[in-house]
Symmetry: C2
Subunit: 79 residues, 2 copies
Amino acid sequence: MSEAALKALGEAIRTRRGEIEGLSQEGLADLAGMHRTYVSEIERGLRNPSFRNLFKLAAALEIPLSDLVAQAERASASS
Amino acid sequence: MSEAALKALGEAIRTRRGEIEGLSQEGLADLAGMHRTYVSEIERGLRNPSFRNLFKLAAALEIPLSDLVAQAERASASS
């Protein structure tokens, strides 16, 4: 279950990034103070990020982290 | 900001645990498959837990993780 949630969380992050025109993985990584590879792996659900890093990503994406988590919960519950 | 959010998240977890009659830190730790000390440190905001561990804690507390995160956001925004 938490694996599906990690994947769904990554997808929610990627989707939100896509809503911000021209925001690449590299751009998001720069905003959040992370490496692009790390962001790429989070978006694919291959990492188990910490609360602090998720909080930074959500801030960079200008969305409450709870919204991203709620999206992940909905997606992983229905998959 | 993420430090205040970690502290507020820990408080949200502790508050939710208190709503479940008789659920000690040790009981929650057992339910989530963690050590009691780790749960205690999370509740005090001294740890930066992973998404997977937060997801397990929320499941053990029978509450969506997004609810705990939303509480933490509200509390840390107003502090």
